[in-house]
């Protein structure tokens, strides 16, 4: 799948969640641009959300948590306190602090991946999905 298609799919998931949130929180909004430090904001709850579509996790069994892509990124730069990993079959909500806790407590080792469409390699943690579930919480 090309980077553009990935981006479009991710964008669609964000739009869908924004629509759901708008049912309760009318001030919720979505950010735009590659350097956004969160995807959705819910001012009524003072909450920022990062949404990661990870459809490949259904095949690999791992959720990808990025922290460097040519510069610090992902978990190191996101301002979102709540993250949503969506596999297509399952939505996993987890706080940013619990992601950090999971990485440290489970002593996860980072790896480098270089997707065919990526200009630069990414440094990531590949976390087995059952471990992510253990640190997850209910939707906000």
């Amino acid at each position: 799948m090309s980077w553009e298609k990935d981006l479009a799919k991710g964008d669609k998931v964000e739009e869908e969640w924004l629509e759901k949130l708008h049912g309760i929180f009318q001030q919720a909004y979505k950010t735009f641009g590659p350097d956004s430090r969160f995807d959705l904001s819910v001012p009524e709850l003072d909450t920022k959300i990062e949404i990661k579509l990870d459809a490949k996790s259904k095949d690999t069994g791992n959720i990808v948590i990025e922290y460097h892509h040519n510069k610090p990124s992902g978990i190191l730069t996101s301002e979102a306190g709540i993250w949503l990993f969506t596999t297509g079959d399952e939505d996993i909500w987890i706080t940013k602090k619990n992601i950090q806790k999971m990485i440290l407590v489970e002593e996860l080792s980072p790896v480098m991946i270089h997707g065919p469409e990526d200009r630069y390699p990414k440094a990531v943690f590949l976390v087995p999905i059952e471990i992510v579930r253990r640190y997850s919480s209910a939707a906000p």
């Binding site: 460097h68 610090p72 190191l76 950090q100 480098m112 440094a123």
Partner: protein
Amino acid sequence: MAKIHSFSHLHKICESAAKKTHYPLVLKELKRQVPKDWLPIAESTVMFFLPRAILDLETKQDRRAALDSIPKNTPVTNLRQFVEDGITFLWEKDRELGKGSSERR
């Protein structure tokens, strides 16, 4: 300066550099050991080793000094908070495993 053979090699260098604990010294150690093209990724990777390295310091004063050496304006969002939270998570884990608290002053 070491030639980086693999990402796990870089990982090991970062783990060792984090043991300097004083943030400017950690960066200096990375600059000493890591080739320039690997340096940005090493500076990001070392963040995940700093909490353990700081927690393992002898005294509370040493840990405080290490935390105070982290500047506010880093490319990583709230780095100091990130490291402080990490120390708390590891301290809780150590306590659950029944180690650390009696040894730490």
